[in-house]
């Protein structure tokens, strides 16, 4: 959100007699907020569409009453926030909201952070003029994490809005309440808007949109975050703590590569045990939306560790004789820098299969494009209006990019193409202008050729490429090749392209492991050059991007291996099962490089009493600094980092929604010739039973698996139809090994490809796939 605010796209408006600048096309409400002016508003969510459920945001603009959350600013607009009539409306609305609202503030989980309370006080409601018989509204658990108390719900529809416009699951909606209907007499007696609002409110309540009692969604918990009252709470948190008792610690979500800003909220475990624990994770929901792993995967800390000098000495020994350090992406930039230092000073190999492929791909891409890193980010993608996603199971791999893909459809009147071998039923529901292509494994290059054919400025393309495309049957041929229906698609495509200006290409993990990653990288660079696309890539997990940039990884491990949260001859582990304990992510401070190329700081949520990597560094090398965070300023400036102190890094969003978190990596641009792309061969297509290395949503690694509110099990995820044919448990035979796993049905999957989880490092799924993301296997019943 660091768009340059040029003079051209700013207009001036007057609010309550004072002149302000506002971005053109901005809603009055957001313009006011950016200028620190308060307009009451309940139902509006930044980055989502206005629902007009509360109507309390009424203002007078150029003499007319309008809703500030859905009226755009115009040059010279005069806005008055309060007029007597608006004040009367607002007061009536708040009185209406208070009608039959249970007097439970004393026990309510919102505990003082309640917008209903706030606005009731703000508008000085001290008496009630309205009444209606109450309806019994039952409390229910919608899923393993969602707890809904209909009695407290004020039907502001924020939860449904965020679920639809941001998350994309649209798992909840308003339904009939079935209570008494409003006496018509009120219509004449009360302000107009208040009556209209009440009329709607009285009829509605929120329920899962699939008509059953439970939601079938990704359990991200974002609806909990946005709920202005205590109606939606996580099941685990209900009635366990008052908000004011919790200490908020700004941090970074640990599991996916999105690197969302989160707050860990901590307080002592119990009366007897004054050690702290994390009670919940909250976020700045107006500016950042979390996925389930960020919100619920928080309690993986390494608890009760003390300094074990013996183990420490053994660790020093181990490092001294180590030939390789094996690690994964669950590591801060600082620690990655330490490992890199060990490599430089002691010649130890760094082995990280999770990131190595990504790192190679980044290099290939950089060579082809001349950009040291991909150009777009999650936030920029959200501002585009045409998104093409390739090579990633968006729903599983990258919640942040999924939100962007969805949000673009809802908010920017956008369009999207989704190419992936695994069929998905959710993505097409994001919008009418979304087309999905379920192609064969091995046709990844073909998809990019199709993108070239569809979007490129044909003049810029090399004749050899054009010829090749023609050879492949042009657009139509390619569409059919990658699993589309050319006739239908071509007809709709013109409409899709209407008024589209900003294009984003999302590249997923499949490509990094592709046999012809080289050619894919070139094609991507070519698309960028000729079709005006911005590219964003999804780093596999956590801090994969940081590791990829900071560490010079090796292709294989050899000799005596030290495992850092991974298998090895000597294991450092934050999971509590290693030879030496190290702090888990929520017990560390440091920085993380997230998907948006931002270096963001995270803080210590829970105490840790043992040794950390820097203690080892102090023994192993001469110039190790005192603290882990002293490494922040040693991050490699030649690779885009800045030499700044950890403590100087900001970590907040301002009222205008600008992100002030850490800093953006420096991306270098070099002019390059048009990349020479190669043809592809379809003899690489996989046949038979195909297994895809992919985690269920919310699961990423051993740490998310440890969290008690992440329930998705390890297993073989398959579509409903496939599940029928497989039975409960199967043995999957790879070329170099087998694994016996449970078969789990994923209703949102389609087709025959099966997704095998990789989040348990002990199962060594990476080894089974042997450097690729798809594998032909034999399935045996057990």
């Amino acid at each position: 959100m660091s768009e340059v605010q040029t003079v051209e796209n700013m207009v001036s408006i007057t609010i309550d007699g004072k002149e302000y600048k506002a971005k053109e096309g901005e809603y009055i409400l957001n313009a006011a907020r950016a200028n620190d002016i308060f307009i009451p508003a309940i139902c509006y969510l930044t980055r989502c569409s206005p629902t007009l459920a509360c109507r309390i945001c009424l203002v007078e603009a150029n003499g007319k009453q309008v809703y500030s959350c859905n009226t755009k600013v115009k040059e010279g607009m005069e806005v008055t926030v309060n007029t007597p009539n608006i004040l009367a409306e607002r007061r009536a609305m708040m009185e209406v909201y208070d009608v039959n609202h249970p007097l439970q503030c004393g026990v309510c989980d919102q505990s003082g952070e309640c917008e209903l309370q706030n606005y009731t006080l703000e508008l000085q409601v001290d008496s009630q003029s309205y009444s209606i018989p109450d309806t019994k509204r039952e409390t229910s658990d919608w899923s393993s994490v969602l707890h809904y108390d209909a009695g407290l719900c004020i039907v502001c529809e924020r939860c449904t809005t965020v679920c639809k416009d941001m998350i994309g699951d649209a798992a909840i909606k308003t339904t009939k309440r079935g209570g008494a209907s409003l006496d018509k007499a009120w219509k004449d007696e009360m302000p107009k808007d208040a009556y209209a609002m009440w009329n709607k409110l009285q009829k509605s309540v929120i329920a899962p949109s699939n008509g059953t009692g439970s939601t079938d969604c990704s359990d991200c918990g974002e609806c909990i975050a946005v709920c202005p009252v205590g109606a939606l709470v996580s099941r685990d948190f209900v009635y366990t703590s008052n908000a004011w008792d919790l200490r908020k610690i700004p941090a970074v979500s640990a599991h996916s590569s999105d690197g969302f800003q989160i707050y860990y909220e901590v307080k002592p475990i119990s009366i007897d045990n004054r050690d702290e624990k994390i009670y919940r994770v909250t976020n700045e929901w107006n500016y950042v939306s979390l996925d389930g792993s960020a919100r619920f995967g928080y309690d993986y800390e390494n608890r009760g560790v003390t300094k074990d000098k013996k183990a420490f000495d053994l660790a020093i020994e181990a490092f001294k004789k180590a030939k390789t350090i094996r690690f994964n992406s669950m590591i801060t930039n600082e620690e990655a820098m330490m490992l890199q230092t060990l490599k430089e000073k002691m010649g130890i190999k760094l082995y990280n299969p999770e990131v190595r492929a990504f790192q190679k791909f980044l290099t290939l891409y950089a060579d082809a494009s001349g950009h040291s890193l991909y150009t777009s980010s999650m936030e920029d993608s959200m501002k585009s209006d045409f998104i093409v996603s390739v090579g990633g199971a968006l729903r599983n791999d990258s919640p942040g990019l999924k939100y962007a893909f969805n949000n673009v459809q809802k908010m920017n009147k956008g369009a999207g193409l989704y190419f992936h071998p695994v069929g998905d039923t959710l993505i097409p529901s994001f919008g009418k202008s979304v087309s999905t292509f379920t192609h064969k494994v091995g046709l990844e290059e073909a998809t990019l050729y199709l993108v070239l054919a569809l979007f490129s400025d044909q003049d810029k393309l090399d004749s050899s490429v054009k010829d090749y495309i023609t050879e492949l049957g042009g657009k139509e041929g390619l569409i059919d090749l990658v699993g589309g229906d050319s006739k239908k698609f071509i007809k709709g495509f013109d409409k899709m392209m209407k008024k589209k200006e900003r294009f984003t290409l999302m590249v997923g993990e499949d490509y990094y492991y592709h046999d012809r990653a080289d050619n894919l990288a070139k094609l991507i660079a070519l698309i960028e050059q000729t079709a005006g696309f911005n590219v964003v890539m999804n780093p596999p997990k956590s801090n994969a991007l940081g590791v990829a940039i900071i560490c010079d990884l090796d292709d294989n491990a050899e000799g005596y291996t030290v495992g850092y949260n991974e298998i090895g001859d000597f294991r450092l582990s934050a999971l509590g099962d290693g030879d030496l304990d190290i702090p888990a992510f929520n017990q560390q401070e440091g920085t993380v490089t997230n998907l948006s190329k931002r270096v963001v700081p995270t803080n210590v949520a829970l105490d840790y009493g043992g040794y950390e990597l820097n203690d080892l560094m102090k023994e192993l090398i001469d110039d190790a600094p005192e603290e882990t965070i002293d490494w922040t300023k040693r991050l490699p400036t030649d690779r885009g980092y800045r030499a700044v102190e950890f403590d100087s890094l900001d970590n907040y969003y301002d009222n205008a929604g600008n992100e002030h978190r850490g800093y953006l990596l420096n991306v270098l641009f070099e002019e390059r010739d048009t990349p020479k792309v190669e043809k592809f061969y379809d003899d690489t297509l996989l046949d038979g039973d195909i297994v895809y290395r992919c985690n269920p949503p919310r699961q990423f690694n051993d740490f998310s698996a440890k969290a008690h509110q992440i329930f998705e099990p390890f297993g073989l995820y398959v579509s409903s139809s496939k599940a029928e044919s497989l039975g409960k448990k199967v043995e999957v035979v790879f070329d170099n090994g087998t694994i016996v796993v449970d078969v789990i049905e994923d209703k949102k999957m389609e087709g025959d490809i099966m997704a095998l989880s990789d989040f348990k490092s002990a199962e060594n799924v990476y080894g089974l796939f042997d450097g690729s993301r798809y594998a032909s296997v034999t399935i045996k019943e057990v």
Binding site: G106, D126, A180, Y239, S241, I271
Partner: protein, 207 residues
Amino acid sequence: MSLEQFKNRNVGTQNYVKLDLAHTPTTGWGQFKQVVGRTFKPELFVGLWVTFREMGNALVGGKMHTTQYPFEKLPISPRYRAIHDMLRLMESGNYRCIGCGLCEKICISNCISMETKYDENQRKEVSEYTINFGRCIFCGYCAEVCPELAIVHGPRYETASEQRASFSLFEDMLTPIDKLNLQQEYDGFGAISPNADENIKPTPLAY
């Protein structure tokens, strides 16, 4: 002892007797007269008489003053802030505390801590509640803030304990269920004001 006595702060109008002290003699003769006067005045005997009379009153007049603490205790003011009690609802016997945590928050010496949970009746249940009396300064804020009049100051003022930190648990403070009929309504800080009714506005119940 009623609250009214404590509320009367007009101490200036109570019946004080002014002493009319004679002047100190300045001359030798004056001093001599004073000595003689004092020696032969029965003042000293008045003193003897008073003490003797009081002894009589005490022994036969039943006017003994002693309260045999700890076997007998004097009633204390309802506003006295002694060891806390947790009250129950008279009707149902359920405890009044709803677990709102306001007392925990307001406590100036941070000595209250509590655990709550979601119970099977979908209500907030206080699973444990403790006060560290080693730290409590008996300021009464907790009783004053409590919206349910659940935590109150009881009349038990003996706070001596073997340890510096002495904790009371929920059980210790809660009115025993079999003594429910003996539970006293609290009259001290935080109790409902006598004119509470006047300050309540009616809510329309038009249906």
